[in-house]
């Protein structure tokens, strides 16, 4: 801990040391969160442009159409390359620049050390490094969209040979990826060490808030799943830059030109294995921190302990472990034999069980509760059915036979967006509304919060619900013009619904943005523990000073001691000994 021992109480730092190159986990957390929110909004805007092309194929995009460069659009009409680029960048930005940095870098950094009663992360300078590496990676990614090729356009999955034969946008993508991966690795090392070694006295593993558990498992996933992608990225860079053939078989003919300069002997499917070995755990990296936040918010607003805390913990560990052996269910259509596919659909079915357990525990926690319908709670409650839909619709995709028809259709899009959009992103909102008072000492406006929640809840379903029906009808994803297909033409009405849903969803975010900035300066001042919560972060002053706790806290009880019989208050903070 001496790493930060020296930095205690140095409040008179110059601005750039205090807020820019800070080593304080809270500042870094906020840096992560704000950067990620900007990226999220950017990625969201890309999608709104795509939705126009889908709703009104081949017609000029109003307002911004003229601003798009030659690679993206011609005469204000999005072109095929443009659509692919926006698609690929939307996926990449949302996953790697938006949700992960917000959920792990943002909430993880800010909340985790507080919740375990630590003065800071184990390696503060490493922490700062990981933010800035992430920042550079993000700038490279976004920057690639302002180069001549306007970024990478081979899907966020970058399948070769397409990605290898594409323009240089893909190279920039890979380089950016290497930065993001490195950042995640540094971060995950820091999180694991912090969680295991810096816990306050008395805070045994089974007294950890569920959020901490979720972050710990997430950190392990990042630590072990990302390196293979880094290797894969290196190999694809070799193919693109040096001209090797890791993913290029012999005898390729590109537009009547025989690529005879390649040695051949590579295998395109190899990339998919390396990629999905990361990308499936990545799915859980996206959802677990969200679940953690939801658990915190639900426990706090039901005013009772989480139901089945231990099974929650075991489930999340099991989930993390299993997520490493399901990756090939993304590849059922590559010509996989019966044996292999059986294994992977089996593991896929197994991994659905812990998810069901987690959801059930959270639902049953509502039983016999005293529910406070605060804004964070509204988002948390919405998360439950939305995530349920996302999870359930994973079933027909995880079964090879039904996947034959549904693979690569809008059913898939609907499925994973229900998990990450009204799932994770709602969880993120819940977290922002919940911890905002801790970060600023002020509360976000309830009224604006509700104005943000209800439209968002309605429109996000308007966006994604039609996708299941389109997928059923056989409408394929990544189609620049769906109406070129019979199914797409027939279900064009549903496309319109999705698109309008998306644009209205964008409007529904205005109250949030207003609320966010208004509350920073004008929000209602609140006490250190406005939600009457039990976990340690609320024992620190708001906003917590450098070093967090005036006195190192000692933990006497579990994380969710709410409504303990025979106690005057309806909550007993972890750092307060129960009056026996």
């Amino acid at each position: 801990m001496s790493d930060h021992a020296h930095s205690h109480g140095d409040h008179d730092l110059p601005f750039w040391k205090k807020y820019v190159f800070s080593v304080d986990h809270k500042v870094i957390g906020v840096q992560y969160a704000l950067t990620a929110l900007v990226f999220l909004f950017f990625g969201f805007s890309l999608m709104m442009i795509m939705r126009w092309q889908l709703a009104y194929p081949g017609r000029p995009i109003p307002l911004i159409g003229a601003m798009l460069s030659g690679t993206l659009a011609a005469d204000g009409v999005l072109v095929g390359d443009g659509y692919n680029i926006l698609g690929a960048m939307h996926g990449t930005i949302m996953v790697f620049l938006g949700i992960v940095p917000l959920a792990v870098g943002g909430f993880g950094n800010f909340v985790l050390p507080l919740q375990i009663g630590a003065p800071d992360m184990a390696f503060p300078r490493l922490n700062m490094a990981s933010y800035w590496v992430f920042f550079v990676g993000g700038v490279i990614m976004i920057g690639s969209m302002f180069t001549k090729t306007s970024g990478a356009g081979s899907g966020w999955t970058m399948y070769p040979p397409l990605a290898v034969t594409a323009a240089y946008g893909e190279t920039i993508w890979l380089v950016g990826m290497v930065f993001l991966i490195t950042s995640s690795l540094l971060g995950s090392v820091n999180f694991i060490v912090t969680t295991i070694q810096l816990r306050a006295r008395g805070l045994s593993f089974f007294r950890l808030p569920f959020f901490v558990w979720a972050q710990l498992v997430t950190a392990f996933l990042l630590l072990l799943a990302f390196p293979p992608l880094e290797a894969a990225a290196a190999l694809q860079l070799m193919d693109r830059v040096v001209g090797t053939s890791f993913f290029m078989p012999e005898g390729l003919v590109l537009s009547t030109v025989h690529l005879s300069h390649l040695s051949g002997g590579g295998n395109p499917v190899l990339w998919q294995h390396l990629f999905w070995f990361l990308a499936h755990p990545e799915v859980y990296v996206l959802i677990l921190p969200g679940m953690g936040i939801i658990a915190e918010v639900i426990a706090n607003n039901t005013r009772k302990p989480l139901w089945g805390y231990k099974s929650l913990v075991y489930s999340v560990i099991f989930l993390g472990f299993m997520s490493f052996i399901v990756w090939a269910h993304h590849m059922f259509m590559t010509g996989m034999g019966t044996t292999l596919s059986t294994f992977f659909q089996a593991t896929t079915m197994i991994i659905s069980v812990p998810s069901v357990i987690i959801l059930t525990c959270l639902i049953i926690s509502l039983y016999g509760a005293a529910i406070r319908f605060t804004v964070p709670m509204l988002f948390a409650l919405a998360f439950l059915p939305m995530f349920a839909i996302g999870g359930l619709t994973g079933l027909p995709l995880g079964l090879t036979a039904s996947d034959i028809q549904l693979h690569d259709t809008y059913y898939v899009i609907g499925h994973f967006h229900y998990v990450v959009a009204p799932g994770t992103i709602f969880a993120m909102f819940a977290g922002i509304y919940y911890w905002f008072p801790k970060a600023t000492g002020r509360k976000m406006s309830d009224w604006l919060g509700k104005l943000h929640f209800w439209p968002s809840f309605i429109f996000i379903n308007a966006v994604f619900m039609p996708m299941f029906f389109q997928g059923m009808a056989g409408v394929l994803r990544r189609q620049y013009d769906q109406t070129e297909q019979l199914a797409g033409a027939a279900s064009h009405g549903l496309t319109l619904m999705s698109s309008w849903g998306a644009w209205l969803l964008a409007l529904a975010q205005i109250p949030f943005i207003v609320n966010f900035f208004w509350s920073i300066w004008k929000g209602q001042r609140v006490s250190d523990n406005p939600w009457h919560a039990t976990t340690l972060e609320w024992a620190a002053p708001s906003p917590p000073p450098h070093g967090n706790f005036p006195a190192v806290p000692v933990v006497y009880s579990g994380p969710y001691e709410y409504s303990v019989p025979g106690v005057s208050e309806d909550f007993c903070p972890q750092n307060v000994a129960l009056e026996a």
Binding site: G58, G80, D81, N84, G153, P249, G251, L252, V253, T256, H258, S260, G266, P268, R303, K304, W307, G308, M333, T334, T338, M349, S352, V353, T360, C361, I363, L366, G368, A369, I371, R372, A388, I389, L392, L395, P396, L399, T400, A401, S402, Q405, L406, D408, F469, M472, A473, G474, L476, R478, Y480, Q482, T483, E484, L486, A489, A490, Y562, S563, D570
Partner: protein, 330 residues
């Protein structure tokens, strides 16, 4: 034969022998999903309504003894095992294992490229001519060794038209020239990634009655003119002549609405003005083959027509392909 066939409903019509199994599985899974979601949602709503915080009433600290959750989880596990072992694996095995015997199947090669489907038929001698990547040109898209290989002489190569006989197993050998594509016939419940450097065989059988011409007739549908949109009808042709009250022919059978949004929309408008009440149309090509894997900037354009013949019709088509083309005199 099913009376009326439709795209855009729950799932597209199915003309293959194995397809109904897949549809059945999909339906069962969705029933199961609802069976989970509905009761669970009701309980959720019940809690929200019953347990909102009221003054002077605190939450109960001790966990409820909810066996129900354990049963629910076990139930889920059991049903999933059933779905997996009972439905998915057999269907997949039927789809993947033991290909049809050489003598009864019809074999065709499909070579994907950006952005078209080339179909290679062995022709009369039933032997595929050899191909060579270095011979590939615009006119010889698969590099067929027309001079070098005697077997190649009678081979047929079609672009974006895939002709198949009904009533016997189709054995299709898929490969790609450039990037990864995915061969998908929505109406046959057939999907397979097409990967360069390897040749993956698939097989399926088309229902004996499923001739594309009959299907087209069966897909005839009337759209009220005020509901008509070019985007929905761009692949459709008029089933019969559209005649106004004063006997003027507005559109002949076989016509389409136009090739662009602008043209099509204007056409609809002028039909409406002429007092046409509804558009009786049918898809020009009812069976479509599409690419399900992103393959470049015109990926969405990579669609082929599947044209099904009975044995006689298929033979006739093959014979027709080999007649020398006569050009207009220069």
């Amino acid at each position: 034969m099913p009376p009326d066939l439709h795209y855009g409903r729950w799932s597209p019509p199915d003309f293959s022998l194995h397809g109904h199994n897949i549809d059945q599985l999909i339906d069962v899974v969705h029933v199961f999903m609802l069976a989970l979601f509905i009761p669970w949602g009701l309980f959720f709503l019940y809690c929200l309504l019953k347990y909102r915080q009221k003054p002077g009433q605190s939450a109960q600290y001790n966990p409820v003894k909810a066996k129900i959750s354990k049963y629910a989880e076990i139930g889920v596990a059991v049903v999933e095992v059933f779905l997996l072992v009972g439905l998915s694996m057999p269907v997949w095995a039927q789809y993947k294992n033991d290909p049809p015997a050489e003598d009864e199947r019809y074999t065709v090669r499909v070579i994907a490229q950006q952005f078209q489907w080339n179909a290679h038929y062995a022709g009369a001698d039933g032997v595929f001519g050899k191909t060579d990547a270095s011979l590939i040109t615009e006119l010889n898209p698969i590099g067929l060794m027309e001079e070098q290989d005697p077997h190649a002489a009678d081979d047929i190569v079609t672009i974006n038209d895939i002709h198949l006989p009904v009533g016997r197993p189709i054995y299709m050998r898929l490969t790609s020239l450039d990037v990864i594509h995915s061969f998908f016939i929505p109406t046959m419940r057939v999907k397979q990634d097409v990967i360069p450097g390897m040749e993956v065989p698939i097989w399926f059988e088309i229902d004996a009655w499923a001739l594309s011409d009959d299907i087209r007739g069966n897909m005839t549908a009337a759209t009220p003119i005020e509901k008509a949109s070019w985007y929905k009808l761009r692949h459709h042709i008029f089933a019969e002549d559209v005649v106004t009250g004063d006997g003027e022919v507005m559109a002949a059978a076989g016509d389409h609405l136009g090739e662009s949004y602008k043209a099509g929309t204007e056409r609809i408008a002028e039909l409406r003005e002429a007092g046409v009440k509804e558009l009786v149309m049918q898809p020009r090509h009812p069976l479509q083959v599409v690419c399900a894997q992103l393959c470049g900037n015109s990926h969405f354009k990579m669609a082929a027509q599947l044209i099904t013949h009975d044995e006689a019709g298929f033979a006739a088509w093959q014979a027709a392909q080999k007649q020398a083309v006569e050009f207009e005199d220069f």
